[in-house]
Amino acid sequence: MNTLLAVDAEGVSKSFGHVRAVVDVSLQVAPGEVYGVLGPNGAGKTTLLRMLFGLIRPDAGTMRIFGRTWGEAGVHTLDGVAGFIESPRFYPYLTGRQNLRGLAALDGGDSVDRIEEVLDVVDMTARADRKVGGYSYGMRQRLGVAASLLRQPELLVLDEPANGLDPAGIRDMRALVRRLAGSGLTVLLSSHHMDEVEEICDNVTIMSRGNVSFHGSIADLRAMAPEPGHVLHTSADTDAVAIARQHPGVDVTPDSDGRLRVVGQERLVSAYVAAVVKAGIDLRTFAATETPLEALFFMLTDDEDAVEGPRTTREEAAVR
């Protein structure tokens, strides 16, 4: 088995003036892996991917792609690599097909014959002769995927591919990424949606303010996730809080909206809610807040000063 990593970033840093966009980030993506880079806006995900594509130069550290670096291989560093950064952009005064033809020419011209095939993959054949200036956001995203597939990549890098899409567009895009990943491609996906990464990726790096907050598998992440949270509103919240004292393992606290936040294992929370109802208290609202992984994501990426409880979790989750 070949041991060359698809991506091997080591101690990569980048600052813009006084802003430290990426700080000493290391990550490894193995061939065939579907890897997620997760973080809120401004976490440094896009800067990291721009460095991978050679669009910006790191101040420190090395970035190897299939063993190649920009310093040694120049533009050949991107052999076998394709993708897009943020929303894919094209020449608005050209049609989708003309754009792809031009990009194929910039790839050496060999891929011109595959234009129809990749248009078909992203379901854009019927719209390929319309000028890109008239495309919707979702159509541009799909054309971006088509432009990437033209290169027959081994590593596909997608920066928030579902960003800005409507629910149907998000569903289609995720299905497409899943199919691409299933075909054996190495996929490096950045997102600020935990569910997207959880659904598609094997391993994940969570970034916050340019730093790595977590690095590991989705399974590791799930194991670290806190208990699920619920919001509860009753006809007698004070009594409901009192009942919680008789239910160890269930934490009930009033939140800033005047409702109760209930945290605990599903089994214990169910028993607690049953007790509340049994006590003759009417339930007005009982709903899940965020999923456990979402809660963990917020803990890992929230402002450090603003988070008191999860600090230990954050420390445990530090770069491995």
Binding site: G32, F53, F84, Y91, G102, L103, G108, D123, R151, D172
Partner: protein, 292 residues
């Protein structure tokens, strides 16, 4: 969406894949030319260069009083060659810098405007290749524009104003055949400074990342240079200005003929072009593409 047919074996790495082909400079150039051809602005400039001189020539020729205070203005209403040279003098003031800047000042900055740097720079073409392809396309456009403008102006002038012998700047009479040759040569001398302005616009297009600034700034700089050139007491500086070579054709129509300013103009235009291109190249190579 149909089934994906990505030919990518799991675990495929560098050793199992032949290196991707890089585009030739010609392929990158062809792509730039195709993009230019699809742009309304570039087509409008060429169409303007072709058709614009015709009404201008017709209007000047129809004037009852010739613009005598202008070089070659005295016979502009009665002589086609004088008319073509009068328009040449006018074109050198700001029209040629403007027309070339419409494309050269936009060709790099439009990638910023459309956010397409990240699209083209994530393919197999290097920044150097894209730089030269764009620069050659802009220079080619400038040459084509000058040729069309000169051809249209001279043809319209001769057809409307006639092809009588031309009175040169020293008062000598120049036969029609020789006059046509000299008028065409005079127009040809504008190629060097126009290419200089093209390179200046390329530099500004890269530096400002703004098409409007890339187009307008070379024209403004040209006007400032003309103003500086008109000031007294700066004789040492005047030959170094990029606008001075636009006057070098005067010597071709003098008796005896002198070509010193022509050679000097070629050198000055060459230096301006080289410096602007090198600065633009270095700027583009070092730039972080953060936008788009």
């Amino acid at each position: 969406m149909s089934a994906v047919t990505v030919e990518t074996p799991p675990g495929a790495t560098r050793s199992t894949r032949r290196p991707a082909a890089s585009p030739s400079l010609l392929a990158a150039l062809r792509w730039e030319v195709r993009k230019l051809g699809a742009q309304y602005r570039a087509r409008a400039v060429l169409l303007g260069a072709l058709l614009g001189p015709i009404p201008v020539v017709a209007v000047i020729h129809a004037q009852s009083r010739a613009p005598k205070d202008t070089l070659f203005g005295r016979y502009a209403t009665t002589n086609g060659f004088s008319l073509a040279l009068l328009i040449l003098g006018f074109a050198c003031q700001w029209i040629l810098p403007l027309l070339t800047a419409v494309v050269a000042g936009d060709i790099f900055a439009s990638e910023d405007q459309h956010g397409t740097w990240k699209t083209v720079l994530t393919r197999s073409a290097s920044r150097a290749k894209l730089f030269w392809a764009k620069s050659i396309a802009a220079a080619g456009f400038a040459v084509l524009m000058v040729v069309i403008l000169a051809g249209s102006t001279v043809a319209a002038s001769v057809l409307i104003g006639g092809h009588q012998p031309l009175v040169g700047v020293s008062g000598q009479l120049i036969g029609a055949h020789e006059a046509l040759r000299l008028v065409l040569a005079s127009w040809a001398t504008t190629l060097a400074p126009t290419l200089g302005f093209t390179c200046l616009a390329i530099l500004l297009s890269i530096a400002t990342r703004n098409p409007a600034a890339g187009i307008a700034t070379p024209v403004v700089l040209g006007m400032v240079m003309q103003l500086v050139g008109a000031l007294g007491g700066i004789e040492a500086v005047r030959p170094l200005l990029l606008t001075t070579p636009y006057e070098s054709w005067h010597g071709l129509l003098a008796s005896p003929r002198f070509t010193g300013p022509l050679v000097q103009g070629l050198v000055v235009s060459g230096v301006w072009s080289l410096v602007a291109l090198i600065a633009g190249f270095v700027m583009l190579r070092r730039r972080d593409i953060t936008g788009g």
